[in-house]
């Protein structure tokens, strides 16, 4: 099994945490992993993206070739469209948050952004911020998104739960529980809407 994933968002939205959870789950399955990210300037509210590749066979390139990504996971709707040239036109899925992060002079009309997302044959779009609040942790929108992406990652759902328990192991029990709930709410949404 091999999955090439683009993670997208705005600096500070927690895409690296998503990568850590998927990465941990993949390593538990004895998979190979390569993850490339851009640090530096982008943390000041600029766009950020990460290439995450997991595979049972050794991985060559740190970067995913255009048109080869199985999945784009985005914590922000406009950002979900920024990397479409990486998405496989035949099989690729796009999973995105619907809550815009508007820190720009000219954020495009959100209706038009939505229209572009809806044009894609395979996508899951959800209000992760709302679901995160329902889970009791407004900061866990990224984990909700991960939950919604989990059906496409080729790993059993429990593996992501285990990974969250591990990654957040130094946090209070309630934090872990809220994140597990966030993960589940995202997953439930995806299951109902694919």
């Amino acid at each position: 099994m091999k999955k090439d994933i683009i993670l997208a968002g705005v600096g500070g939205q927690g895409i690296i945490s998503i990568a850590s959870v998927i990465g941990y789950a993949a390593l538990q399955e004895k998979m190979f992993l390569k993850q490339s990210e851009v640090h530096g300037m982008s943390v000041r509210g600029g766009d950020v993206m990460s290439n995450l590749r997991i595979s049972h066979h050794e991985i060559a390139s740190d970067l995913i070739p255009f048109g080869q990504a199985d999945l784009i996971i985005s914590v922000e709707p406009l950002e979900s469209l920024r990397y479409l040239e990486y998405l496989s036109p035949d099989t690729g899925w796009l999973v995105t948050n619907l809550t815009p992060f508007n820190n720009m002079q000219h954020y495009p009309d959100i209706e038009k952004v939505m229209a572009e997302i809806n044009k894609l044959p395979r996508h899951v779009a959800l209000d992760a911020d709302k679901l995160a609040k329902e889970a009791g942790s407004a900061k866990s929108a990224n984990i909700v998104i991960l939950g919604a992406a989990s059906p496409f990652l080729g790993l059993p759902f429990e593996k992501f739960e285990d990974a969250i328990r591990f990654i957040f192991r130094s946090k209070e029990k309630s934090v872990i529980e809220k994140n597990l709930e966030a993960l589940k709410l995202g997953r439930d949404f995806a299951d109902k809407n694919i």
Binding site: V10, G11, G23, Y24, L27, Q28, K30, F32, L33, K34, Q35, S36, E37, V38, H39, G40, M41, S42, V43, R44, G45, G46, D47, E58, I59, A60, S61, D62, L63, I64, P65, F66, G67, Q68, A69, L78, E79, L81, R82, L84, E85, Y86, L87, S88, P89, G92, N103, M104, Q105, H106, Y107, P108, D109, K112, V113, E116, L120
Partner: protein, 551 residues
């Protein structure tokens, strides 16, 4: 606590099936720790910063008393490391590519003095300029200094090359340059650790005049360097990092360096390349291997990240018989980072394509955090300068460079660290008054102090605004060398005390700050204004740590 940490590390190792998942930067740091490092010297700079931070956060470094605090700039870092090498211990210097410009003087001369304890200089290049002013290629410096260069193609090699580099450095008494690029620095993959070895004991060079570069000695040392260079080429011929791979299809031969190897392999899903190829990870170039490839193949494709350094070498000036393809003939774009698709096209393989990006897409440039102290400084400065013709604010490199963008558009230059003060001085010398410099506290101590001294000595009419946010924010909030001592430094350099003004960059003091700035701008001499308020990201980080330790 210690046992807990040990357990954590233990679990960590197991889950990765004996492999640690490390960034290229982290692999270099761990490689150095395991190879008996005694000190790391660095000034932060993307994408090199995480090397030093890894050592700073490591328990081993604390236990073994390994030097790892930040240096004031890359030149001081390079020289301190050379001193540690003189004393017989292993030292590493880390910087981003432009840092090597700052450290160039000691770096070039260290090739003449040579090393004693193992000395590695890590320079991290940034092709595509993800967060830099240019995309210069550090291999030029390595070649210029005539030192060996190591260039890893993956994180495991990055780890292994450090030990190899220290050994090489000690064997030939020469500093070794380790060149990485952004993608190597900031990409993670599995690394298997080697054995840990002890640090060197103190031991001085056998010839105590080795480091005295008086002309008579330097001439001899230079000849020794030229002789050693022959040995370096021989080492490259047999190095584990340079590999010749046979291939049946001789219509093309490939010369591939560093991380470009991964993109090459990506294009052959079964990982079998039909062409002969030479993988380069150690310079100077292995001449015989190159000759074999050129002789054997009809044409040669050169794949390297950064400038066409190898390509220029192979092409030379006189046209050869063989066709050489690379960045010069347009096979590969002349600028920017490589990727698997660029290589697919160069190899004549079908290119893959994804979906197209909708027309509505717009950029999301980075910007100053809301609540950032620099915002209040710029709002005041803009108000003071409103009545004057535009274009008189020389600035520098840091978070505050984002003041060039909308809505502030407050600055007119950003060239190299420290250039704000000296450029403002030069413009003032030309009669352009008032002339303003805006510089961050860390940039000021990095390279601003000497320029301020020039201005003081010439009594140049410049106003220098030192934005003191008590940290090196742009690169992630490292300690700033002059925190708490900025006024003292300015006074020491000779700025009149009456014209060193500390202000609070906050909305409620805006009117007051405008008045002070106006007064100093009207002063016909050197004045310094220090807007002082801690970076809010750094306050936030401090509070979180405090909260955590309380718990």
């Amino acid at each position: 606590m210690k046992i807990f940490l040990f357990l954590l590390r233990y679990i960590h190792t197991i889950i990765m099936a004996n492999k640690l998942l490390l960034l290229g930067d982290e692999a270099i740091a761990l490689g150095a720790l395991d190879a008996g490092l005694s000190g790391i010297y660095a000034y932060p700079g993307t994408p090199s910063t995480e090397i030093t931070e890894y050592v700073q956060n490591s328990e081993t470094a604390k236990e073994k008393n390994i030097h790892c605090s930040w240096s004031t700039n890359e030149k001081t870092a390079m020289e301190a490391a050379l001193g540690m090498s003189y004393a017989g211990k292993r030292a590493m210097v880390c910087m981003k590519h432009v840092g090597l410009n700052v450290a160039a003087d000691p770096f070039i001369n260290s090739a003449i003095t040579g090393a004693n304890g193992g000395l590695i200089v890590v320079s991290a290049d940034d092709p595509s300029m993800h967060s830099s002013q240019n995309e210069q290629d550090s291999r030029f410096y390595g070649k210029f200094a005539m030192v060996p260069i190591l260039e890893p193609s993956n994180q495991q090699e990055a780890y292994d090359m450090v030990r190899y580099g220290f050994d090489f450095s000690e064997k030939y008494q020469i500093p070794v340059l380790l060149r990485i690029t952004t993608r190597m620095a900031h990409s993670r993959s599995g690394v298997v650790r080697g054995e840990c070895r002890e640090q060197n004991t103190l031991h001085l060079p056998t010839d105590l005049r080795q480091f005295v570069l008086l002309p008579a000695i330097a001439r001899k040392r230079y000849i020794k360097l030229l002789e050693s260079h022959q040995r370096f080429i021989e080492e490259s011929e047999t190095s584990q990092f340079n590999m010749y791979h046979e291939g049946p299809d001789k219509s093309m031969g490939i010369l591939v360096a560093g991380i470009a190897l991964n993109y090459l392999m990506e294009n052959f899903p079964d990982r079998v390349v039909p062409y002969p190829f030479l993988k380069i990870g150690q310079y100077p170039m292995p001449r015989q291997m190159v000759e074999k490839l050129v002789e054997e193949c009809d044409e040669v494709l050169i794949l390297e990240e950064g400038y066409p350094v190898i390509e220029e070498l192979i092409r030379g000036y006189i046209p050869g018989k063989k066709k050489i393809r690379g960045r010069f003939d347009g096979t590969i774009p002349r600028t920017g980072e490589l990727n698997p698709n660029i290589l697919a096209v160069a190899l004549g393989l079908p290119n893959t394509k994804g979906l197209s990006i909708p027309d509505l897409m717009v950029g999301r440039p980075p910007q100053l955090c809301s609540g950032c102290p620099h915002i209040d400084s710029y709002l005041a400065l803009n108000e003071v300068l409103e009545a004057l013709p535009k274009g008189r604010v020389f600035s520098d490199i840091g978070c505050y460079t984002l003041g060039a963008l909308k809505p502030y558009e407050a600055i007119n230059s950003c060239v190299d660290m420290g250039a704000s003060i000296t450029m403002a001085k030069g413009a003032a010398d030309a009669g352009f008054v008032p002339s303003v410099a805006v510089i961050g506290d860390s940039t000021f101590t990095h390279s601003g102090i000497t320029g301020l001294l020039d201005a003081v000595n010439d009594k140049s009419p410049v106003t220098v605004i030192i934005l003191d946010n008590a940290t090196t924010a742009m690169t992630g909030g490292q300690d700033s060398a002059g925190t708490g001592r900025i006024e003292g430094i300015c006074k020491g350099v000779g700025v009149e005390e009456a014209h060193i003004r500390v202000i609070r960059p906050l909305k409620k003091y805006h009117a007051e700050n405008v008045i002070i700035m106006r007064e100093e701008l009207n002063y016909n001499g050197v004045s310094v204004i220090i807007p002082r308020r801690e970076c809010i990201v750094s306050v936030d980080k401090r509070m979180r740590i405090k909260f955590k330790t309380k718990q």
